[in-house]
Symmetry: C2
Subunit: 253 residues, 2 copies
Amino acid sequence: MTLDGLPPHQGGAEELACLLARALLAGHWQPGDAFPRELDLSTHFGVSRNQVRNALASLTSTGLLERTAGRGTRVRSIDDWHLLDPLMSEWLAGLADPAPHLVREILAFRYSAEPVVARLAAEAAEAADVERLEAAYQGMARTADAAHEQHAEYDVAFHDAIYQASHNLVWRQMGHLLRPSIIALIQRSQEPLHRLDAGLHDSLARHARVLDAIRRRAPDAAERAARDVLQRTAVDLGIVTDTAITPQHAVNP
Amino acid sequence: MTLDGLPPHQGGAEELACLLARALLAGHWQPGDAFPRELDLSTHFGVSRNQVRNALASLTSTGLLERTAGRGTRVRSIDDWHLLDPLMSEWLAGLADPAPHLVREILAFRYSAEPVVARLAAEAAEAADVERLEAAYQGMARTADAAHEQHAEYDVAFHDAIYQASHNLVWRQMGHLLRPSIIALIQRSQEPLHRLDAGLHDSLARHARVLDAIRRRAPDAAERAARDVLQRTAVDLGIVTDTAITPQHAVNP
DNA sequence: CTTGTCAAAATGTCTGACATTTAATAGGCT
DNA sequence: AGCCTATTAAATGTCAGACATTTTGACAAG
């Protein structure tokens, strides 16, 4: 793969890193491929070798690249990517068209993890946590008819508040995964023939049940409610095949 | 805090980063404190400014430090650490005396997460996964009477195999947390008056039940068994207060 | 066919100078 | 006194060039 397709560039090393990272995440190179040499990048983007080295250092620290003296720079496999690195989340979130496979993996993770996190949140939440949840929920309700991007930010804030409320250092770090996955979902929902909006009001109601359960410090209810929030998405993506597994206390037609 | 207490140093920038990281993780500096300047580090350790900058770049990318031009380098709060960064795990694993608070957080995470991961593993495991689990388990059994360090490696391998078997990109990354937490546990168990060895044979039997459940593709059993593996530790650390919550395979009223 | 040596190419490192940002400080004005 | 401004100092950030090191492949000798 050459550099010809990449957009031009002006700015610091961070921006360059972001640019290259998104090209990698978009699959412009295959795992094992050789990555352009420092000097080529330097001349192509018109920046100093220093900036290139700094950018490549970022990509290396997130597991996207592997560099060895004499050998050159190689592209690493998706299995080696540090998906939980905040830098990676940032790059992923702004990606126009993330690999569907990757989005599916992240959402499968969330579908299995968030019920547990919600349970912990219901056990550990303090007043400030509930307030944050409440504020995010109000924002979601208020922007139900607004632009999807705006609604998505409150959606991210809501789920992040759940992770925060778990009061666990490790779980809290994983809130970074929310933005990329939620943004990817709304992008997909804007494709034609997709009826995710149809369930928007329903989605809001499910979020309300999570909020309510955490406020009532009801772990079991919180766990169930969190699963229900993600269930529709999980079914859509084939993460879970049978909707009857979690039979909603009411009914799922 | 000065540099006087730190051991000498010879080697590359990675080693220097590790040295400084462990000093930070050990709490030699408080959050918000100023970190020594590049030139001071350079002269103190007898390395070039370049090496120092590379080392500090690592510490910055893991959220341990925060650097701004003109202001200097500051130590960040534990809330900002990237605990899921593989580099961080490596530094943590070799730490002589990790902060008890941190170990507790990681184990609380594992106690809540591993049952879910084991469930996924039971649903998704393939032959190779079961083989890896089996091999690690045999290693654990074989080294039951050997040095703790050796046994711990198989213990890490066993739990990592569970994460791997989940076949989820995100969960698999979290296997990195295993080594530091397990090493911290065996260190603590070697303290006098600690009777963790007493339960070693029992621990082996619990691991066997996890292996068995995953081999049988029994998600419910795997989830319960994984919880039981960590339960004793969780009770010891006060993560869960009541041992009756999960009353062993017997019955759940 | 194997082995050793050499050359080319890539990343890694060093050094010194300079740029930029930030914070403190001194000075002058009202 | 109090406030605003210009200057200075101190730290990190950047650059350019030379050099070091590592890896790989080619080539020739045994």
